[in-house]
């Protein structure tokens, strides 16, 4: 008789792998359900095949949700300057990701302008200016404790005036449960839209790969405040797996574009769903 259900022990093991990768209970149950259905359909499945099926099902889930769509370092044609606003909670790696991204665009021969609209955190402007120097691109700043919206406006304006290809706006880290700070983001956006109505063209939400289930709430609130269009997951050079992103892409259908794999200028990669899923199974 063929095995039409997978035994409980094996499923528990799979559940462990997923939970350990921060996939979260709800999404884990959803994935396990998919596997059970598939096993029922395919009748016989050995344990070794199950591993493979699990990878396929997660990758398929990411695919359905367009998780890796648009993952490239190209800029869409016909929009100039392409304005990217970078948002996220405190310390996730926004400023660093901007430095790395700027470097990618700069290397590809694009003209880049950065906007230092984190005017709040101690030395945040200096940090971005150092990144600007490293990459060799101009940074627009008004110094600390100035109005972030007007910095963003001036950066976009500078981009327009100098014929830049891309303008990237750094914003202060803010916890998504702080209403005042979330409203400030909407304001920054509105002010930039005075230049062209479709600005910013991209809102990149940066998530720390070692964050647990709270990342779902971050995605929810930032999406509400700013219409997030893409995700970057940082610090995946550690042992954290970043599995919470599966649930996020499933719920919000926002593509993951970039992953951060270190602190150096070259440590930014395009999101690759197969490689991502593969890392859940590595013992590192």
């Amino acid at each position: 008789v063929g095995k039409s259900t997978v035994d409980v022990e094996v499923l528990d093991e799979l559940e462990e792998i997923l939970v350990h990768a921060d996939v979260g209970v709800e999404t884990t149950v959803k994935i396990i359900d998919r596997i059970e259905k598939r096993v029922a359909r395919d009748k016989y499945v050995s344990t070794s095949e199950l591993d493979k099926i699990l990878r396929e099902e997660i990758a398929a889930l990411l695919e359905e949700n367009r998780a890796g769509d648009g993952a490239n370092f190209d800029l869409p044609a016909g929009i100039k300057p392409y304005v990217i606003m970078v948002v996220g909670v405190n310390g996730v790696g926004k400023t660093t990701t901007i430095g790395k991204l700027a470097s990618q665009f700069h290397k590809a021969g694009k003209k880049v302008v950065l906007g230092a609209a984190d005017t709040f955190r101690a030395a945040a402007v200096d940090q971005l200016i150092i990144w600007g120097e490293r990459v060799g691109v101009p940074v627009i700043s008004h110094g600390m404790n100035t109005d972030p919206a007007s910095v963003a406006y001036d950066a976009v304006k500078k981009g327009v005036d100098t014929g830049a290809d891309v303008v990237i706006i750094d914003t202060a880290g803010r916890l998504h449960n702080k209403v005042g700070l979330m409203n400030e983001l909407s304001k920054i956006k509105r002010v930039m839209q005075k230049i062209t109505a479709d600005t910013p063209h991209e809102v990149l939400l940066v998530l720390d790969g070692s964050t647990g289930q709270n990342a779902l709430l971050q995605a929810r609130e930032f999406t509400k405040a700013t219409d997030v269009t893409a995700l970057a997951i940082t610090k995946l050079d550690g042992t954290a797996k970043g599995g919470v992103v599966i649930g996020i892409s499933d719920e919000f259908k926002i593509p993951v574009k970039y992953i951060g794999v270190g602190e150096k200028i070259e440590d930014l990669q395009l999101f690759d769903k197969n490689q991502f899923v593969e890392s859940f199974f590595s013992r590192k």
Binding site: E16, V19, H20, A21, D22, G24, V25, E26, V89, N90, G91, V92, G93, G99, F120, R121, A122, A123, A124, D126, Q127, I130, W131, R134, L175, H176, N177, K178, D208, S210, T211, G212, Q213, N214, A215, L217, K235, D237, G238, T239, A240, K241, V244, E263, K284
Partner: protein, 295 residues
């Protein structure tokens, strides 16, 4: 979520009760709900397993199954168990030594530099002369950041802009603190991953060189399953004395607190609750247990 869990457990017990014999197996089924709730709060799944095994024994001993509201009793047991796990011997920060040397370590972006400023502020307000030392030679503008915070709270920041050797800077900072009669010197260090061998060696060397009175491991309360890996490795390398939990002004459940406590058995000494220099608090196990359970 507390109501949620309590209701879920009540329902689970009810269906089980209807099925006749009340056994250990019935409790086991509800224990699975508890475990899932903990994992959803970012408690490490292995820790959640150990904890719920203990809870199961406790539940059996306290006749949960014949209680009027077994779900509620169960949640109470879970709450008590978590509180005890995170409590134990509550310790204050050790400030013996002339000067007392406090070494700050942790992952990137966890909140070390901010905490350094806050702790300086806190100790200064107690009437101590405090100095902070900038030993992050890597992150762009890290030194600058600490200088700004030190100025805000009105303490001296020791910096060496050209020196790229954090061990040396730390030693020089301590010497300078002695010379200028400081009672406390707080050493801010670069963020590092537990798997970064060179950087882990560096922090161990800083510790060996300055022999701190107190070594604190700073961890972001939003951390997921990886908290255990990180805390374990840092503890193996620098045998820290206590933990600082940051960004608790967010809405994370903070299960990492329980995981770390369970795995390294070191007390949580401070919590960080905002970006302002005053946003520092002591740790209360019962409040943390409530938070994890969403009470």
């Amino acid at each position: 979520m507390f109501d949620n869990l309590s209701n879920k457990l009540d329902r689970a017990f009810k269906t089980l009760k209807g099925q006749g014999s009340i056994t250990e197996i019935n409790v086991a089924a509800t224990i699975k709900e508890v475990r899932r709730a903990l994992v959803d709060a970012d408690v490490n799944y292995k820790v959640a397993k150990t904890v719920t095994d203990k809870i199961k024994d406790e539940a059996m001993g306290r006749d949960v199954l014949i209680a009027v509201s077994p779900g509620q009793l169960m949640v109470k047991i879970v709450y008590e168990e978590l509180t005890e796990l995170m409590g134990g011997h509550k310790q204050d920060i050790n400030l013996k030594g002339e000067p007392a040397i406090i070494l700050i370590a942790g992952l990137q972006g966890s909140g070390k530099t901010t905490f350094t400023g806050k702790l300086a502020n806190y100790l200064k307000k107690q009437g101590r002369s405090v100095m902070v030392a900038a030993c992050d030679v890597y992150r762009p503008a890290a030194i600058n950041q600490l200088q700004v915070l030190a100025e805000q709270v009105g303490v001296e920041a020791y910096t060496e802009l050209e020196n790229k050797n954090p061990v040396q800077i730390a030693l020089n900072a301590v010497a300078h603190a002695k010379k200028t009669n400081k009672k406390v010197v707080i050493i801010d260090t670069a963020g590092r991953l537990a798997v970064d061998e060179a950087m882990m060696k560096e922090i161990a060397e800083i510790k060996a060189a300055v022999k701190p009175t107190e070594t604190l491991f700073v961890v972001d309360s939003m951390t997921g399953q990886d908290a255990v890996n990180t805390a374990k490795t840092f503890n193996e390398r620098i045998n820290f004395d206590g933990v600082v939990l940051t960004k608790l002004d967010g809405d994370s459940r903070g299960g990492a607190a329980l995981s770390i406590r369970a795995v390294v058995e070191k007390p949580i000494k401070f919590i960080s609750t905002g970006e302002k220099m005053e946003a520092l608090d002591l740790f209360y196990p019962d409040r943390m247990a409530q938070r994890i359970l969403g009470m």
